[in-house]
Subunit: 227 residues, 2 copies
DNA sequence: CTCTTTTGTCGTCACTTTGACGATAAGGGT
DNA sequence: ACCCTTATCGTCAAAGTGACGACAAAAGAG
């Protein structure tokens, strides 16, 4: 029995936290189908290219991010017949978490690429093309879940960060305010989550805060609790 | 830009608990490549067929299970170039959890299909063909994780079960003994996990045990703790 | 029919974690 | 100096966990 060939694409849910809110990178499609509409970045996997390599390539093309240090993980694969008018296309979705870049988005491929508040896109299923709304929902939910039991929130931060900044990540992703004192206790007492760097900063105003960097932990036990 | 066509397959990690151990369904391949070797069940997705539909079809073909009530979830997608000698094949892996069937496996497709202890297959990366060892590892880990925070263990049970039987599922999947008294407390006090059916059974020997069925809960909070 | 074995179920207790919140520390701005 | 802001520590009651004692209710042995 032989197989029916299909197109295989890698689509990306690229998230960051800017201005205290969760944002997603969208591109305006320059070609058909759905030309002119907003969509998640993505593209076809090349013949000799690994799936994750394709995702990293797209990520680099859309954001200019040197992708090695960027957290990238597979979310799910979407292959409903008819989801792409070009034919049978199966799309492997990846989730990327990036820090708030000083560098603006400089896409080579995309006619235009923009950071957009995730909440707005989540609220309107027709704001983005194809079945990308579902992909975004799944990607954001994955991110929210992973913050609970993994130290992944640090992927949104610069190399050095304060506990408040980290808390800001959680609050933005979960959309919930957290108690600063309990959060501080929890984070600093969870082994290997963050390690103090020795310096302090006043960039957030108020009393100087200690700077930390991500620790060696790969998961958090016990997990943090969503508001 | 056009796409390079690829084969898309659905592979299945079908797990059950029999004789107090976690077992996985393997088939002996009747055709090349890897003819005669053991592998996970699976096959190519048909042109107009949804991915999950393909997985359910394969599940039905291999196990005879009417698939509607069977828990099936996507695990991940594997698409490394060279993973299949027939060409570029991308495989979407699904995890199925089935109860200990009185019905023996009756595959129409498979030359032979057998339940095999998961521990043995996990221990030897070359026991199964292709990259199926990795798929199995990921599938089993997914199952282990989901037992913690979802009521999914009931998917391994018959419609009605005792707390001990449910505990046996956890012990088999996690490979860890659990305290019967604490387990009983935890399960019965977690809202919506199990609901008493009113009857009792003595099929496990000893004092008659209450029978339960799965409750309406979709997740467990707080979660159960592994070992 | 009584005793023993086996499993089920309830309780107790010390310990940890959580969530709510008071209090103090240490900068900057005026 | 005083106030505002953020950081960080401490306290306390409530809830959850792990260890384990005790009793209940059946089957099987004698």
């Amino acid at each position: 029995m032989d197989f029916e060939p299909m197109g295989v694409a890698a689509d990306l849910v690229i998230l960051t936290v800017r201005d205290g809110e969760l944002q997603v990178l969208l591109i305006r499609r320059g070609i058909e189908p759905h030309k002119g509409r907003w969509a998640l970045p993505g593209g076809f996997v090349r013949p000799a290219e690994d799936l994750e390599a394709a995702a990293r390539r797209e990520l680099a093309e859309e954001t200019g991010l040197v992708s090695d240090r960027i957290h990238l993980e597979q979310v799910a694969t979407y292959g409903e017949p008819g989801r792409d008018p070009r034919g049978r296309v199966v799309s492997v979705a990846y989730l990327a978490l990036v820090p708030d870049l000083p560098t603006p988005v400089a896409g080579t491929d995309a006619a235009s690429a923009r950071w957009v508040a995730a909440s707005g896109v989540l609220a309107d299923p027709d704001r983005i093309a194809f079945d990308h709304h579902r992909i975004l929902v799944d990607g954001v939910e994955r991110a929210r879940a992973k913050l609970e039991y993994s130290p992944l929130a640090t992927a949104f931060c610069a190399d050095e960060f304060t506990i408040s900044e980290l808390r800001g990540i959680y609050e933005a992703v979960w959309g919930t305010p957290l108690d600063p004192r309990n959060f501080h206790r929890k984070v600093t007492r969870t082994d290997g989550f963050v390690v103090p760097v020795g310096a302090t900063t006043t960039r957030d105003g108020g009393r100087p805060a200690q700077l930390f960097q991500r620790g060696p932990a790969t998961f958090l036990y016990p997990p943090l609790n969503r508001g």
